[in-house]
Symmetry: C2
Subunit: 325 residues, 2 copies
């Protein structure tokens, strides 16, 4: 059962020392929501930190807002450990010790798969919220905090990244209503935020993307697009694998493509990122190789396999997937 926004706000206002845990492989919603809530708690005179154990992705670094720490012992006493934008121990791996320090355990999330191993003292999971940032916005308002410019920027980043700039199906009327409120904050400028998030690609990354896109293969009458980020292309362009993140979105913008697969080659394994447009069940395709995810966005890993062998195994399954209508 979900606790109400009001009851969560009441509990939080009563606590002085809070650690906030965004999920591993932080995205804009994870770090944006976490920093927004941290700043709001601090504005009430509380001690609060966002506990991380990996660097914040470069394009999201401005969302740290002085909130993040990697120091397990940053607070003498931790009254609350709060999981944000996630709800299971595997989503905060490497930070278990810090998590256990919280005398109370809480969770605010919008992912529908609920982990069962934790007994939360309070939790609120809203699968219909486009972003955890929307729930956090409501908690902050319910605590009576002012929405400062920094908080507005964090909430906007959370919502705009998780909704694909208000284009994905998860977007709701409320996503726009909250964004509309943010525009009323003195100094708020969405262009500044989106330029920080989206417009700081390296020249090398842009050229690497182009090289991968130029060499796409198509199957099933163009319904399936397959791309490869090899170690060779990374070496040649001086890029790291995380710079390949935007490629699959571009693959999906091609007319007639129902499914896309981007193979990412590492030294010891091959990762396949999968996307579907409307009917292709990519989670099912991924599950055949031990992976999973959502119907239209999934993935799997081929350990100890060459790229060629991974392709040979995966592509026939994907052809069936895009043909299965």
């Amino acid at each position: 059962m979900n606790d109400t926004i009001k009851s969560i706000a009441t509990i939080m206002k009563d606590l002085d020392n809070v650690l906030i845990f965004p999920h591993v492989n932080m995205d804009g919603d994870a770090i944006g929501s976490a920093s927004a809530l941290c700043l709001a708690l601090r504005s009430l005179g509380k001690k609060a930190y966002v506990m991380i154990n990996e660097p914040v992705p470069k394009n999201l670094d401005f969302l740290e807002c002085g909130c993040t720490t990697t120091d397990d012992s940053v607070l003498d006493d931790v009254q609350l450990s709060l999981m944000l934008d996630c709800n299971g121990m595997n989503r905060i791996s490497g930070r278990e010790k810090a998590w256990e320090r919280g005398r109370l355990k809480g969770c605010i999330d919008h992912h529908s798969t609920k982990a069962k191993e934790i007994r939360y003292d309070f939790s609120r999971i809203e699968p219909k919220s486009a972003a955890t940032g929307e729930i956090v916005y409501n908690v902050i308002k319910a605590m009576g905090c002012e929405i400062t410019l920094d908080i507005a920027n964090c909430i906007f980043a959370a919502i705009t990244t998780d909704t694909g700039n208000f284009q994905h199906t998860n977007t709701t009327s409320r996503s726009h209503e909250i964004a509309g409120h943010l525009y009323k904050i003195e100094g708020f400028n969405s262009k500044v935020i989106s330029a920080l998030i989206y417009d700081r690609k390296s020249k090398n990354a842009i050229k690497m993307e182009s090289e991968v896109i130029s060499n796409l293969d198509f199957y099933a009458d163009g319904k399936l697009a397959v791309g490869k980020v090899t170690q060779e292309v990374l070496r040649k362009t001086g890029c790291t694998m995380d710079e390949a993140d935007g490629i699959i979105v571009r693959m999906m913008s091609i007319d007639g493509v129902e499914g896309a697969c981007l193979f990412k080659e590492t030294d010891s394994s091959v990762r396949a990122s999968l996307r579907g447009r409307s009917y292709a069940d990519m989670a099912k395709a991924a599950s055949k190789f031990g992976g999973g995810g959502h119907t239209l966005a999934a993935g799997c890993t081929f350990n100890g396999m060459s790229l060629e062998d991974a392709e040979k195994a995966m592509i026939p399954v994907l052809i069936d997937t895009v043909n299965a209508r």
Copy 2:
């Protein structure tokens, strides 16, 4: 002086035969606003058409909604000719004869440069509206029309394309408020609309983009990015020039780029599209070669000049422009 939304709605409700004129080189706001208003007028039992003399761009074809015509004499009697998302004769060129048929002349627009050659019977120009679609939405509501799914799709397309998916500085609280209302329309799904607008690129176009991006030149310590769409690259990839539209947006996503110039080579001229990020005055740069536009989005044309000569003339000016801070 602007007429009020209410008075415009009152006038429109009194008329039976209306021709609507979107601007040349139709964009999502032009055709989206025009069709939305046309559908609303028809729902009131009126005869209304969107008068065009060029094909609607392929990615916007679903916005025609049976409203467009190229037939000057489609109505026996034209009570109103209404210019939409533009306000000067040069913006409806080729349709002057049809325009003159309207006994009343009206204008609804959000472009701040007001043409003086037309005496409108009524007009409303709101330069602070992110899209003409926002003004049209308010007119439709004021006429008491139901926002049908087709109208909602048209208004959403108008707003999302003119705001760069709610990221540009022109976006306001009202843009989000209206979008929030559209989500409440039965069957509304923004993903369907954005997939139609953005995700129907041809394979060739994607490869052409990649080729141009792979061959970018950088000047002024990376502050200026210059790309070229040559006739050769179009021939090689089987593309037309209008498929190069998205390239300059990608150029602006590169870290450190303050200005971008994309040269487009035709048989007889070279067109330079210019974008600035924050301080580069691209309108001023373009004006040196007889062009113009907004500070951060401008362009000019070099007639009867080779690409090499256009580069030689333009690039030094652009280097000064991105260095002038």
